[in-house]
């Protein structure tokens, strides 16, 4: 089993990143459509280059924001299904809890799978807290809605003998019968993201691929252990194939360490801008546990986003971290090709193996020339070495 490496960009619109809120309330008068036009085509070209270099590709979506022009992950995937040739196409993901119609999602994803020749990796997410506002979805019971939508989508993709009836608690259809059906059988691989151990156990119990984002050494390993608990409790065996795990980090490569660090620092603005959300859309009721909300109200730094521990036990707050701290945590890989190779091997071995490495290789103000150079260096000098590794772990032992 070879580790798969993905190129990810949120398609940022960075020229207005000095605004106090980059989400929800930022008026779209600040969006110049001509600039957005250029950016979309540029980012699509970068995904095409990644495909040619042997990467897989990842997309996501956010709403009402200058941090991400992908307002519909399925739309950009539909373009990439035609524009790319070999890459697995991961959407991570479609915000299931915020969508009114899972059947429509099943239709769109089946179309994408068929157009791409069976290359879709079908990721579902609860959605970050500030997606609640634009979607106007109820923040209570989001995970219950997510699982019911998930079940309906899978049933829609795997039922082939005409319409079926679905009257759940949240979603109601009397005649579900999608055309086309997906090319991959019985359905494209399912991914779900989480940052919580209880969700990780549930995902593990279902055997679905789990994506986790920028949790570094400690958090990621904890989530993988929780997944393994669910996996074992469901009777799936003692060890988990590492292709059940995806991990998202940021990455920049250059010929010199100094230039790579400069590039990585630009991409890391993605995390530093995380606090730029109009209050209180960043903390809708019930999104976080009641106790966490109370801690946040009492916190001297209410804008804090996420605090990680380095392997040496030093706390690092992601919204204000330095590049060295990001690297120490395993949230950023940056340097020459050799350095990045070593950082990635150290990280993946330390957490017990990894099947899917998701890399944000474009972010913030990193321009096209820099992005293409970084991608090309990784694609020609790091990717082949990672793919040639024979000593990496295939099974995660809890």
């Amino acid at each position: 089993m070879t580790m798969r490496v993905y190129h990810f960009s949120e398609q940022p619109y960075p020229e207005v990143w000095t605004q106090p809120s980059l989400r929800i309330t930022i008026p779209n008068a600040l969006c110049r459509p001509e600039e957005a036009h250029k950016l979309y085509h540029r980012y699509i070209d970068e995904w095409k280059l990644a495909d040619e270099l042997g990467f897989d590709i990842m997309v996501n979506e956010h709403h009402s924001t200058a941090t991400c022009l992908t307002a519909s992950a399925n739309l950009i995937l539909a373009i990439l299904a035609r524009e790319t040739k070999k890459a697995r196409m991961l959407v991570l993901g479609v915000p299931l809890s915020n969508r009114a119609d899972p059947v429509r999602i099943a239709e769109e994803m089946s179309m994408i799978d068929v157009i791409s020749g069976g290359r879709l990796e079908m990721g579902f997410v609860k959605g970050v807290p500030y997606e609640i506002g634009p979607a106007n979805s109820n923040p209570t019971r989001m995970m219950e809605r997510l699982w019911e939508a998930h079940d309906l989508i899978i049933q829609a993709m795997t039922t082939h003998d005409g319409p079926f009836n679905f009257e759940g608690e949240f979603f109601h259809h009397r005649t579900v019968n999608i055309w086309p059906r997906p090319m991959q059988q019985p359905h494209p691989p399912v991914w779900i993201t989480t940052a919580s151990a209880s969700n990780a156990r549930e995902i593990g119990g279902r055997g679905i691929v789990m994506g986790s984002f920028m949790g570094g050494f400690g958090e990621t390993k904890k989530l993988h252990h929780a997944y393994a608990e669910g996996w074992q409790k469901a009777g799936r065996g003692g060890e988990v194939p590492v292709d059940r795990f995806g991990y998202l980090a940021m990455c920049a490569v250059a010929d010199t360490e100094a230039e790579a660090r400069r590039r990585a620092d630009l991409i890391a603005d993605y995390l530093r801008t995380n606090g730029q959300v109009a209050d209180p859309f960043n903390k809708p009721p019930t999104y976080f546990p009641t106790e966490a909300m109370i801690r946040s109200i009492r916190s001297p730094n209410p804008k804090a986003f996420r605090t990680l521990l380095t392997p040496k036990g030093k706390p690092v707050e992601l919204s204000t971290a330095t590049l060295d701290e990001f690297i120490e945590c395993g949230v950023v890989f940056a340097g020459t090709p050799d350095q990045v190779y070593d950082q990635i091997v150290d990280f993946t071995d330390s957490i017990g193996g990894l099947g899917h490495l998701l890399l944000m290789q474009q972010g913030g103000h990193l321009n096209a020339e820099e992005t293409r150079d970084s991608l090309t260096l990784f694609g020609t000098k790091v990717l082949p070495r990672l793919q040639a590794r024979t000593d990496s772990k295939l099974l995660f032992a809890a």
Partner: protein
């Protein structure tokens, strides 16, 4: 399911749903339904009413410390629950009062049945849509910082405070109340599109009280609400924001008492309403 109630609280098990309520005073029963932030600040008002009434003040499921019924997700669930509570306690001739979100529940109860109600008192109620589709009748309480919410809610600056000043229990209840309110009132936001067309069913004397400095409701909204209820009386308390019962407890209680008194006299003069 038996649970231990906090001091001063009683509990009733109604068809598998546990309802906690406080009770004080004697006489005609008065059921008070708290607003969306829970029962914070209502003591002086309830004490004033308890001089004349047997005041029963439940805490809506999900607003308290315990988890509520998993399937409770709408104001209808609360309206039926409280109608059950009135029956369970064997109450009759009830004065039903509610503030803001509690006023919405009270209105939903009254359109279902006024059989056991003597009078209805709605304090800056929400629950209907009267403005146009681009008009917010109720500010987005989930979309403004707490500081702004307090400034809009209270005319008296001394009632405003930073949330972190609350003790752990107080803060827990406050956060839980916001969570519960989202469960019941997220969308359609703070109203039931069907309710306005049903308000004609309210057959008991009704009083709508508005705060003269209410920054939560659109100006004119409480009067629209009163106009939609047959024969309802409209009163305004100039020195109050969105919560007259918290800011002007004596004056608000006095308005309710005199209204109920007059309504009672009127009922004695009028032919006795047939009760089924």
């Amino acid at each position: 399911m038996a649970t231990t109630s906090p001091p001063g609280m009683q509990a009733a098990a109604l068809h598998g749903v546990n309802v906690e309520f406080s009770e004080k005073g004697r006489g005609q029963p008065l059921l008070f339904l708290h607003p969306g932030h829970g029962n914070w600040g209502d003591h002086a008002f309830l004490d004033a009413l308890a001089a004349d009434y047997r005041v029963i003040a439940p805490v809506a499921p999900w607003f308290g410390k315990e988890a509520g019924p998993p399937l409770f997700s709408s104001v209808q669930d609360l309206a039926y629950l409280y109608l059950d509570l009135i029956e369970h306690l064997g109450l009759d001739n009830v004065v039903l009062a509610g503030s803001s979100f509690g006023g919405w529940i009270a209105a939903e109860m009254a359109v279902k049945s006024c059989q056991r109600l003597a009078a209805l008192a709605l304090l800056a109620p929400v629950g209907i849509k009267t403005g146009g589709r681009n008009v917010r009748d109720v500010i987005d309480v989930f979309g403004v910082p707490d500081k702004e919410w307090q400034e809009r809610a209270f005319a008296d600056p001394s009632l405003r405070f930073e949330l972190k000043m609350l003790d752990d229990t107080g803060l827990f209840i406050r956060v839980r109340a916001k969570e519960a309110l989202a469960r019941y009132a997220w969308t359609p936001y703070m109203h039931n599109p069907k309710l306005r067309g049903r308000l004609h069913r309210i057959s008991c004397p009704t009083l709508v009280i508005a705060g003269g400095k209410d920054g939560i409701l659109r100006s004119g909204y409480p009067r629209d609400f009163a106009d939609a209820i047959p024969g309802a009386r409209y009163e305004e308390i100039s020195g109050a924001g969105h919560f007259p019962h918290i800011e002007q407890p004596a004056q608000t209680a006095g308005l309710v008492q005199s209204f109920v008194h007059q309504a009672g006299e009127g009922a004695q003069r009028a032919p006795v309403r047939e009760r089924v």
